[in-house]
């Protein structure tokens, strides 16, 4: 079965600094990978996804992620964060025959301070 590990439970960062949120997955078959964001007291919103093709994926709000098959990673990056990026971020994986349930990591809490 596929699974996801988010390597950092909390990431504090100063405003306008770059940030990387780390995600590793395990699966013996082809997968789809996702990053979701959850702002305080809100539901989950899709940031970006990797299905196939280019390993660099661009999402909303200036975020991007790179799929690295050899390292089984899908790290999320942003070159300059804003206070409004403070949120919980979840990495998720599903088998490439989509419709299967998403398996989520435990989440990374990004705290951006002035």
């Amino acid at each position: 079965a596929q699974s996801v590990t988010q390597l950092d439970s909390q990431v504090p960062v100063f405003e306008e600094a770059p940030v990387e949120l780390r995600c590793n997955y395990s699966s013996s078959v082809s997968v789809y990978l996702f990053w979701y964001v959850q702002y305080p007291n809100q539901g989950l919103q899709l940031l970006l996804k990797y299905l196939s093709g280019s390993t660099l994926v661009k999402g909303i709000n200036g975020f991007e992620a790179e799929f690295n098959k050899s390292q089984t990673s899908f790290h999320l990056r942003k070159p300059s964060v804003h206070i409004s990026d403070t949120a919980e971020y979840f990495c998720a994986v599903t088998l490439s025959n989509s419709g299967y349930a998403l398996n989520f990591g435990k989440g990374t809490s990004l705290l951006v301070t002035p």
């Binding site: 539901g43 899709l46 979840f90 989509s98 349930a101 398996n103 990591g105 435990k106």
Partner: protein, 113 residues
């Protein structure tokens, strides 16, 4: 705007009560899912359904059951609520073969006292 709607945003129930959490989607999705979200544990899958009257256990089905009598509605049932079921419950739906991920509801925060 397409939606997944969870009937209650906040619920407070007593230990031992039978609790129904309702989820309705208006996108004609085949697949529907129930997750619970707890701090430090992320989202954990309780049950899911690929079609009407079909259900599959997720990772933590104990103490829960589900019902899907109509395509658009997926109910989560706590047969006898316990305090360890205090949590945020999230419903989601998707098309089979859909590569856009899932659409989530805004969640129901259940407190069992």
């Amino acid at each position: 705007d397409v939606k997944v709607t969870q009937s209650s945003r906040y619920l407070v129930k007593r230990t031992g009560e039978k609790v129904f959490l309702e989820c309705v989607q208006d996108m004609d999705h085949e697949n529907m899912f129930w997750y619970r979200q707890d701090p430090g544990l992320g989202l954990r899958l309780i049950y899911f359904s690929y079609d009407v009257k079909m259900k599959e256990k997720g990772d933590i089905p104990e103490g829960y059951s589900v019902s899907r009598e109509k395509k658009e509605r997926f109910s989560l049932i706590l047969e006898s609520a316990s305090t360890n079921q205090t949590s945020m419950y999230l419903c989601a739906s998707s098309f089979t073969g859909d590569t856009d991920g899932y659409t989530f509801g805004s969640g129901t925060r259940l407190t069992v006292v």
